[in-house]
């Protein structure tokens, strides 16, 4: 997948890094993301899997231009958008690339009725569209996410989490986005409502050719949804490849441990294995030491593994 030139893909990320600095005198570095590269293609879903602190949200924020990368480039339809500064250019970018976040309750302004939120999209991104067409398109989007138009007259607190999450998707639909960054999209929803939201997203993805970067910590879900899987650990991409390949043949010790801890519904954990999460740091260091100089390399077709650490400058 990385053979394609970034100028040709839909959204390409190349060697993206973000270092956070804290403190004034003793500047401390925290690696948010380091050397992350991948391509998003139309109609495809990539799941970005990692635990808290792995930098998965940072990558999402970098793509959404909520953070400025320290190094690396982001290409959208061949154009380098890493250093977008003008408001006009940003607006054009946001009309095609949008994010949906974990907590639907805090994603809406609680003082505004739902229809006002939708009208705002037209005011900001498509001021040329007439009033009646606006209404038609809003109704169409609402119907597409299996909601009824009477929700438009309600305030966010009158709606359930699943309904709000669907409205967020409807909002993205209205803009006809090419890329959706879904950060822990359904982790606030109950098991019975989750699948409705996900299947909706899958349908849209297939019909409209929308690409999704699905950021999650749920490995079962990642398998269900994605064509390609990225595993992040300590800000680095440690494994990247086709979902089936990675799940069937994990190579990096962190990926292996992650898969061993997944609670399955078919069989139970092996309780004899003494399992200590703290030890993974040591195991990963050893793995890097044993494979020094190999860097991020291919183990089979379209399956890359980080064998040794790149230096942080």
């Amino acid at each position: 997948m990385m053979n394609s030139k970034p100028q040709e893909g839909l959204l390409s990320v190349r060697n993206l890094s973000k270092i956070f600095y804290s403190g004034i005198i003793n500047r401390e570095k925290t690696v948010g993301a380091k050397n992350v590269s991948f391509d998003l293609e139309p109609g495809k879903i990539i799941s970005l899997i990692g635990e808290s602190g792995s930098g998965k949200t940072t990558v999402g924020k970098l793509i959404l231009k909520l953070l400025q990368p320290t190094e690396g480039e982001i290409y959208f339809r061949g154009q380098d958008i890493t250093n977008l500064t003008s408001k006009k250019e940003k607006k054009r970018y946001y009309s095609k690339v949008q994010g949906v976040f974990q907590d639907p309750f805090s994603s809406f302004n609680s003082l505004f009725r739902v229809d006002r939120i939708f009208n705002m999209i037209f005011r900001i991104f498509m001021p040329e569209v007439g009033k009646s067409e606006q209404e038609d398109r809003i109704l169409e989007a609402i119907r597409e996410v299996n909601l009824t138009p009477d929700l438009l007259e309600k305030y966010p607190h009158q709606l359930s989490g699943g309904q709000l999450q669907r409205l967020l998707i409807a909002r993205a639909l209205l803009l006809d986005v090419d890329v959706l960054i879904a950060d822990e999209l359904i982790s606030m929803l109950d098991a019975s409502t989750r699948m409705g939201v996900l299947n909706l997203l899958l349908d849209i993805c297939q019909e409209k050719g929308m690409a999704i970067l699905f950021i999650t910590h749920d490995l079962n879900l990642g398998y269900y949804l994605s064509d390609t899987t990225l595993i992040m650990y300590e800000g680095r991409l440690v494994e990247r490849g086709g979902t089936r390949k990675i799940y069937e043949n994990p190579v990096h010790p962190y990926t292996k441990m992650l898969f061993e801890s997944v609670p399955g519904v078919e069989e139970r954990w092996d309780r004899d294995e003494d399992f200590v999460p703290e030890e993974i740091d040591k195991i990963v260091r050893e793995f890097y030491d044993n494979h020094e100089g190999q860097g991020f390399s291919e183990v089979e077709e379209a399956h890359h593994v980080l064998f040794s650490e790149q230096k942080i400058d």
């Binding site: 098991a191 409705g196 910590h217 749920d218 269900y224 949804l225 609670p263 200590v276 999460p277």
Partner: protein, 330 residues
């Protein structure tokens, strides 16, 4: 016969509200034997946390409306709060949801532990603190965490400290409410296994493990109770519940779980249409009937509990149809 640690008989607890009572726990029967880890599953608002609060006699606006609860043969619902206070931590102990965020930021971990046991009439002398250190070793924490502040510890470490504290006086019965929810996958596994270890080492007699995550529950629970809208839907051995559910709700819930090996291109998983009912206005009848694909006219009557296997009960009129043909459909 196995020794009963906890027995609930038609337990009812409602939240008092001006608009009417919220019937959050409405007629629960349950027996937990010594050595069992009882999983309680259900969606948000189904009453699983309320059940936990009822059992430790808190908070004030939650009223016990009927039924009995026996802990080691002693009825605990009719106890005065003074009497109940003596039971807490020593006999029955609760780990509330989000407990790991409840540490005071200005106190060291050991101060928390000392304050707590003093309240329960145990003197935190050197001997006691040695015991605490031994307990911390069981959960793979260095005794030096005692001199640290909560903000210096990671989420998984805090949760392990919480579990140590809640079990420090060897309670017979531990209620663990969503102890794995705020944690990473790897820490989840460790914390869940720890609950089993505490049981194996007989530090706790038995436990209730409350979570909305059926997959984790299945890993450690001996039996599982599934609740829906304040009612008991199904209770039975973990293997039976996961692989041979006899209630439409359990069946739909389990079939909606994504699992490694199923991709959306091969099989589409389905959720459950609709939302749970409002618990203030709910009348008689099966509470799941509004979302149920097996619904018949009979469902307007509250279902009886039917025994469908060894220690396996379901509250559904049409349980015989469940699992017979619908699985092939999906």
């Amino acid at each position: 016969m196995a020794e009963k640690v906890l027995e609930l008989k038609n337990l009812q607890a409602y939240y008092r509200h001006l608009k009417g009572d919220v019937k959050a726990v409405d007629g629960i029967d349950l027996t937990v034997n010594r050595g069992e880890i009882m999983g309680v599953a259900g969606e948000s608002g189904c009453g699983k946390s309320t059940l936990a609060y009822t059992l430790i006699n808190a908070p004030a606006h939650l009223k016990h409306m009927g039924g009995e609860a026996y802990l080691n043969g002693k009825e605990i619902m009719s106890m005065s709060s003074g009497e109940f206070r003596k039971l807490r931590l020593q006999n029955i102990s609760l780990i509330p949801q989000y407990a790991l965020d409840a540490f005071s930021p200005t106190k060291k971990i050991k101060t928390h532990i000392r304050d707590l046991v003093r309240q329960h009439g145990v003197s935190p002398n050197d001997e006691f603190m040695e015991k605490v250190k031994d307990r911390l070793k069981i959960v793979n924490l260095d005794p030096s965490v005692l001199s640290r502040y909560a903000m210096e510890l990671s989420g998984g470490m805090k949760q392990r400290v919480i579990m140590t504290i809640s079990s420090v006086l060897d309670p017979d019965f531990l209620i663990a409410d969503e102890i794995t929810s705020a944690l990473d996958v790897t820490s989840q596994r460790f914390v869940a296994n720890m609950l089993v270890n505490l049981r194996d080492k007989e530090i706790i007699g038995s436990a209730i493990f409350i979570t909305h995550d059926l997959a984790i529950m299945y890993q450690i629970a001996s039996r599982i109770m599934v609740m829906y809208a304040g009612h008991l839907a199904e209770v039975g051995p973990a293997e039976e519940i996961m692989h041979n559910p006899k209630h439409p709700y359990t069946e739909a819930l389990i079939s909606s779980l994504p699992r490694v090996g199923i991709q959306h291109t091969d099989t589409r998983l389905h959720g459950i249409e609709g939302t749970p009912p409002d618990l203030t206005e709910i009348g008689p009848g099966c509470r799941f009937r509004f979302r149920c694909s097996y619904r018949t006219d009979k469902c307007d009557e509250t279902p009886r509990r039917e025994q469908v296997g060894e220690r396996h009960y379901t509250a559904c009129w049409n349980y015989e149809q469940v699992g017979s043909d619908s699985n092939d459909e999906q």
